[in-house]
């Protein structure tokens, strides 16, 4: 068997195979060779007053000759005729926004059909992920399925096995709700050490949309499901992988689980399961089965491939935790974040996202000194259950090194853990469910780095 070790900054193989002891050791060894004093030295250098003032591109200098040429010389768009309506039947982002793309992490997977792409969280606002930038995780490639030929079946412990067309699903009473979806393996590469440079790659298997559809319980009741003895529901996709997952009954009977067809005001995108996908609020993305073709009511769990080979959390004692579903309380500063450069000293709005699979976010605190002292951030509206919440905090950067962190608490009182706390229980080989506090080092040259702190 070949070694599946990773070097930090160059991850290898499938997301289920992120971790390697040798890679971790390498970085730890490097950190012991003097990197440990990095921040201390940086603070010392700043205190000695040697830092030059930071002057950057696109600053807003006081004009020397009468004024800014962008004001004095009227541009073409102020002196000409613009384009007509419906030039684009389906509008696109500005050409100046072309850098915002979902991206693969180089070396992570060998094929594109069994792979992930990460959403560019560093450049997004508010809580809604534009549908075209929604992260992707495909197990056997994606399809654009003809909705007139798609069927949805309910069987198992039901009075009547039933079949529905998409037309019929869309006739039923619908609900529209905002929910986050996060891959269970989000932030997996960071369990042992820093491995990737930006928030897109550390946290980008995360998106939030308004989903529209029919509560699954409505369809189960139509089929006369035995909800007393039927304790588990299997969801199954209609594509090549025919993904299956055991869905928690408590979330179905509460009405939270939705058979969705809508996403952000339009139909689901093909990459996200058009025409039907399951929405399982608060639960990791793998349960949100795409191209949903069937649910089965049963009295036992199913131990599907993604419950008995992958999506199990290895614990330090060598045992796997099976049926780990909930995405626990988590947050991350999205700007400033790794790979960005602050243009100048002065005022900044620290902004980020917080979420919990157990309900609403109650508060978010932000530290600029690596977790010693904290300030409570503003939570922007709306703050919704099992949805992303946006937080902001005023900050004046003095040009000295700073370490930014955010720490969320959800309505159950659960507070996002530090890496030390999380590793203390789960070790570093869990792969899944890393919800530790993220650190970003703002260096005095303005460049921001992904770091983990002692």
């Amino acid at each position: 068997m070949s070694d599946d070790s990773i070097r930090s900054g160059r991850v290898q193989k499938a997301p289920e195979n992120f971790l390697s002891r040798t890679g971790i050791k390498e970085v730890f060894a490097e950190s012991k060779k003097g990197r440990r004093d990095f921040i201390r030295n940086a603070f010392a250098a700043a205190a000695a007053g040697v830092a030059a003032p930071v002057a950057m591109a696109q600053s807003n200098p006081v004009p020397s000759e009468g004024g800014d040429s962008n004001i004095l010389n009227l541009p073409e768009h102020a002196t000409g005729l613009g384009q007509g309506v419906a030039t684009e039947g389906y509008g696109k982002p500005s050409k100046f926004e072309a850098n915002l793309q979902r991206r693969q992490s180089p070396g992570l997977t060998q094929t594109t059909q069994s792979s992930v792409s990460f959403a560019p969280l560093q450049s997004l606002f508010g809580i809604v992920t534009p549908s075209g930038l929604h992260f992707e995780r495909h197990h056997q490639g994606w399809w654009d399925i003809d909705p007139s030929k798609h069927r949805f079946m309910v069987n198992g412990m039901v009075k009547k096995n039933m079949v529905f067309t998409v037309d019929e699903i869309m006739r039923l009473p619908s609900v529209s709700r905002f929910h986050f979806i996060e891959c269970g393996a989000n932030t997996a590469v960071e369990w042992g050490n820093v491995a990737v440079p930006t928030v897109q790659y550390t946290h980008g298997m995360l998106s939030c949309s308004e989903f529209t559809g029919v509560p699954l319980i409505t369809l189960l009741e139509l089929a006369g499901a035995d909800l007393k003895n039927g304790k588990f529901v299997l969801a199954e996709g209609g594509d090549g992988s025919s993904m299956t997952r055991t869905i928690p009954m408590s979330l179905i009977t509460s009405g939270e689980v939705i058979v969705a067809y809508g996403q952000n005001g339009e139909m689901l995108r093909p990459e996200n399961g058009y025409p039907l996908r399951l929405v399982v609020p608060g639960v990791q993305g793998v349960s949100w089965v795409k191209y949903l073709r069937r649910v089965e009511v049963g009295d036992k769990p199913y131990a599907a491939k993604d419950e008995a080979v992958h999506y199990m959390d290895l614990q330090p004692n060598g045992q796997h935790r099976q049926y780990t579903n909930i995405q626990e309380v988590k947050s991350v500063v999205t700007t400033p974040s790794g790979g960005q450069v602050l243009l100048d000293k002065g005022f900044y709005n620290i902004t980020g996202l917080a979420w919990s699979g157990k309900g609403k976010i109650k508060r978010v605190d932000v530290s600029t000194d690596g977790g010693r002292n904290w300030r409570q951030a503003r939570l922007e509206t709306p703050v919704l259950s099992k949805a992303l919440s946006r937080f902001n905090l005023d900050w004046v950067w003095d040009g000295k090194p700073a370490i930014l962190q955010s720490r969320a608490q959800d309505e159950t009182g659960h507070v996002q853990p530090t890496y030390q706390q999380l590793r203390g229980v789960r070790g570093t080989r869990s792969i899944y469910h890393n919800n530790a506090i993220q650190s970003w080092l703002v260096q005095e040259n303005g460049e921001v780095k992904n770091v983990q702190v002692s």
Binding site: Q319, Q340, V451
Partner: protein
């Protein structure tokens, strides 16, 4: 039988078939009964207690045949390959088969985790091979082939002998020999509901401390310099307007005290002209599953397209023939099967490769 009675019978039959049920429901006219044939076609899942497992059998020997023709390209002859997917076989011992716990999973220095090290339930293997394999032609194996491939894998892991015939009759005995059958726990707080017992309290109990919460932090881990540009130029991955830019990681980092490298205002990616022919070709490559085995620039199972382009520049006829007819030996010993795409498409792809396989 009178026509009247026939009509009555028809109504009664329709009611029994469920039309009546839909009409009596809260949402009349929505949904219908599934036919037994429909349910049989789609209800293919197999549970750990073997509910859903079709009757049948398959030998290790037959499994080896199927494996070598349909599985080895990606998984290796012995299920050991790490080229395309994680290794399937390896890391389990005779002792593990006795205890039901894979000892290597407790070792922090053991480099990998194979499928057979992890999977506790043999039903999972059967179910997944049946529903999703082979990767590019899922659900095309016969019941006998699924039993046989499962048997072959179990034999590679020394769970069953090489003269074994796996069947619905003896699969429970095999389950009792699965190396990691006792390796699972549901004692955690991450399943919503009480079906597994589980725990109420989460693993960690951080507090909302606000002042002097810890000693001065030190950086314990950061990206080494060699990885600076490993994810591409970050300047091209950030918005070109706003309070910050992406760092230009194509250049070394600026020294402390001097401004870091920043991209200028125009995004490098905006002006790139789109190559429509290449776009169409790439779509065609995806549609025909070429990209399952060939990367754009690098080897997956077979060589990358730009690698072929270098070696076979200008050879349109040769390349078109190879696509249609398959081959072995030019790039290694893993054969490329003959491809069933239309001649015209094969030629178009061949022309594109012969001109350099540009993006």
């Amino acid at each position: 039988m009178s026509r009247f009675r026939n009509a009555l019978m028809t109504v009664a039959l329709l009611a029994a078939a469920g039309l009546g049920a839909a009409q009596g429901s809260k949402y009349p006219g929505v949904g219908r009964d599934a036919t037994p044939k429909e349910v049989a076609k789609w209800d293919i899942d197999v549970r750990p207690d073997f509910k859903g497992l079709p009757a049948g059998s398959g030998s290790v020997a037959k499994g080896q045949e199927v494996w070598e023709s349909k599985c080895a390209q990606c998984h290796g002859v012995f299920g050991e390959s790490n080229e395309v997917f994680s290794p399937l076989i390896g890391g389990t011992t005779a002792q593990d088969i006795k205890t039901g716990r894979v000892a290597n999973l407790s070792r922090s220095d053991y480099p990998g985790r194979t499928t057979l090290m992890k999977v506790p339930t043999v039903s999972t293997l059967w179910d997944y091979i049946n529903r999703a394999m082979p990767w590019t032609n899922p659900k095309t194996l016969s019941t006998e082939e699924v039993y046989a491939v499962t048997a072959f894998m179990l034999n590679l892991a020394d769970i069953i002998p090489e003269n074994y015939v796996l069947s619905d009759k003896n699969i429970a005995e095999v389950q009792a020999r699965m190396p990691n059958r006792n390796g699972m726990s549901t004692q955690h707080a991450m399943w919503p509901g009480k079906e597994f017992g589980g725990l109420a309290k989460p693993d960690t109990a951080n507090t909302v401390c606000m002042k002097d919460c810890k000693p001065e932090p030190m950086v314990a881990s950061l990206l080494p310099d060699f990885a600076r540009n490993a994810h591409g130029n970050l300047a091209e991955q950030n918005r070109i307007v706003g309070p910050q830019r992406g760092a230009d990681t194509s250049r070394p980092e600026a020294k402390a005290g001097t401004p870091a490298a920043v991209a200028t205002a125009s995004p490098a990616t905006v002006a790139k002209p789109e190559n429509n022919e290449s776009k169409a070709i790439v779509a065609m490559l995806n549609k025909n599953n070429c990209t399952a085995c060939h990367g754009m620039d690098k080897k997956i199972v077979g060589p990358g397209f730009t690698e072929i382009a270098k070696k076979q520049a200008g050879k349109v006829d040769y390349l078109a023939g190879k696509i249609k007819g398959g081959g072995v030996g030019v790039w290694g010993q893993i054969p490329m099967p003959a491809q069933a795409l239309p001649e015209a498409d094969a030629r178009r792809i061949a022309e594109w490769i012969s001109k350099g396989a540009g993006k």
